[in-house]
């Protein structure tokens, strides 16, 4: 190895360490704080060090009905949204990429464009729509956790459909022709050939749908208010922050536990996670 190359490598590692510190300080600080007692936090000793580590915050939260309710709401919503998303987007992606019908090309583009419409543009009309719906039918949608089952798919379905179209398009056309000749119908081709073959894409899309549902903040903030209907992100912010009293040890513990599911999925399925991330722009 030449001298130049050695130095380039040293500089690379040097800057990578700097950036890693920048990128990892907040989560590490979350962990540090979560291990402290309130007394230690307000004592204003060295904030970067834990002098009397304790799991008290964790025990307190994991035995608190309220926190567990948030967690359960989040989990139920995310799992259901993932299921709904897959049930909607996989058949649609198959129809759009393989079967072609009148307007299917336009629809594929339209799906992609919907993905670009941010939720911040839609929450007010949706809020009003739900209110009107209540007036018309007497069914109250606002302030029930399951309203999120209805609105979250608008965030997950377009992108998942889009990347599944990309994955399905990369399957050679001969494969479905072979299945057709072997006597498989369209549904059989989808279930027995396409889904198994595009499984990596399906996993990537599932991860995407889960992380988006888990992290969504605006919709639950706008549509749910009662403490027992909240999901984690909103729950932590509205219930653990009481007035001006910030119990930072608990907030950090709650946030860290709230960040755990996506982080665990990421740790185990990193390649799928990254594939899904890059698929949006590189496929299609």
């Amino acid at each position: 190895m030449s001298r130049d190359r050695t130095w380039a490598l040293r500089w690379s590692y040097f800057f990578l360490v700097l950036f890693a510190i920048f990128f990892l300080v907040p989560p590490i600080y979350m962990l540090i704080t979560s291990l402290k007692t309130s007394a230690e936090i307000s004592a204003a000793t060295n904030p970067w060090w834990v002098f009397h580590p304790t799991l008290g915050n964790y025990i307190q939260l994991l035995t608190s009905n309220q926190y567990l309710t948030f967690f359960r709401n989040s989990a139920v919503v995310s799992v259901f949204v993932v299921a709904v998303t897959m049930l909607i987007s996989v058949p649609a992606a198959f129809a759009l990429s393989r079967m072609r019908f009148w307007g299917s090309a336009t629809l594929a583009t339209g799906v992609f464009l919907t993905y670009l419409i941010p939720e911040t543009l839609l929450f007010l009309p949706l809020f009003k729509m739900f209110a009107v719906f209540n007036e018309l039918t007497g069914i109250e949608l606002i302030n029930h956790w399951w309203i999120l089952l209805i609105v979250y798919p608008t965030l997950t379905v377009p992108f998942c459909t889009w990347i599944m179209i990309g994955y399905f398009a990369s399957i050679p056309k001969e494969l479905d022709e072979a299945a057709l000749i072997d006597g498989a119908g369209w549904i059989q081709t989808l279930v027995m050939i396409f889904i198994p073959v595009a499984l990596p894409g399906l996993i990537a899309a599932t991860i995407f749908a889960f992380t988006v549902s888990w992290a969504q903040f605006l919709y639950p903030l706008a549509f749910t208010t009662s403490a027992d209907q909240l999901v984690l992100p909103v729950g932590i912010i509205t219930s653990l922050i009481k007035g001006d009293v910030f119990n930072w040890g608990q907030i950090m513990t709650g946030a860290l536990l709230g960040a755990a599911p996506p982080l665990i999925i990421y740790a185990f399925l990193m390649d799928y996670y990254i594939a899904g991330l890059t698929a949006g722009a590189t496929k299609g």
Partner: protein
């Protein structure tokens, strides 16, 4: 049964043959249409309809009983806060995207530089900010920026500096929300660029090296042109997401101090939900549309062009 009928009569009757063929093709499109129907319903009912509905809402008065035309917009134009929001939204989005792109590019290069077996580990570590739900990581930043217990200020004090009012005064608060945005978004750019860097054939660099190009010339003449597409599309995606961002400002500053860090999304939430003036809130959020449209058009152009090439 149908087959038998066709076999018996198909030879004689040409017209009948055509119709049954068409029926077969129709059946295929019908199945396809039904498979896509849930998607179409979802999009039209919960995305397209509300998008159009917000246009309608924006023309109503606060109690949504009276049509006021452009009244909400003209009212906004007279409000100083509105112009501040416009300015802050643009500063917020543009600065953040530029720095995300720069940092993402630099970090991607460093990761690409080191031996392949270590790359996975580094890449995994550096993407963590993107994986943590923004609401959670913003809480961590909020705590790092705490007025009395800021861990950053503690470090600064250690070196004899004055405490920084991270979220306390307008300029620092603006800096802080942008910093957090960069922290969350830069890893995404890094991942996209890294994927793009991997797709540049090694022979091109070898050819450039043989032609006597310096490392800087290699970046300028080989890497950047090869990555131009990905750079552009990532930046446009990020511009849309950043411009419409809600979580960061909402949690970090809630728009304060005195509304100076509000962006369109947070202000329309403040006005529409908390201020219970849905039409005015809808009007505010509609101001995001022009910039989103421009970005979307460019993205779409790129995608259709690539579609045509393949």
């Amino acid at each position: 049964m149908v087959d038998a009928a066709i076999r018996a009569e198909g030879v004689k009757s040409g017209a009948r043959k055509r119709t049954s063929l068409r029926r077969m093709m129709q059946r295929k499109s019908t199945i396809a249409f039904f498979m896509a129907l849930p998607l179409i319903t979802l999009i039209s009912l919960l995305v397209l309809y509300p998008a159009g509905y917000s246009l309608h809402l924006a023309t109503l008065n606060k109690s949504m009983e009276r049509f006021v035309g452009f009244g909400n917009f003209t009212f906004l134009f007279t409000r100083e806060t509105f112009w501040m929001v416009v300015q802050q939204s643009c500063i917020f989005a543009i600065t953040a995207v530029i720095f995300k792109a720069l940092i993402g590019f630099v970090v991607a290069h460093f990761v690409h530089n080191i031996p392949a077996k270590g790359q996975r580990k580094w890449r995994g570590m550096l993407l963590v900010p993107w994986v943590i739900p923004p609401a959670m990581s913003c809480l961590a930043w909020l705590w790092l920026f705490d007025p009395s217990y800021s861990a950053f200020n503690w470090l600064i004090a250690l070196f004899g500096g004055d405490p920084v009012p991270w979220t306390g005064n307008t300029y620092w608060a603006r800096f802080s929300v942008i910093l957090v945005n960069i922290w969350i978004g830069a890893p995404f750019f890094m991942i996209m660029y890294l994927a793009a860097l991997k797709s540049v054939p090694e022979q091109l660099y070898e050819a450039a090296a043989i032609d006597g190009a310096s490392w800087w010339q290699r970046i300028w003449y080989v890497t950047l042109p090869m990555m131009r597409n990905i750079i552009a599309i990532t930046a446009l995606f990020s511009l849309i997401v950043t411009f419409a961002n809600f979580d960061i400002v909402r949690i970090m500053t809630a728009g304060g101090p005195i509304d100076t860090t509000h962006v369109f999304a947070t202000w329309s939430f403040r006005v529409g939900i908390e201020g219970a003036d849905i039409p005015l809130g809808a009007s505010v959020s509609l101001f995001m549309v022009p910039i989103l449209t421009v970005a979307a058009v460019f993205i779409l152009r790129d995608i259709t062009r690539r579609g045509n090439e393949s």
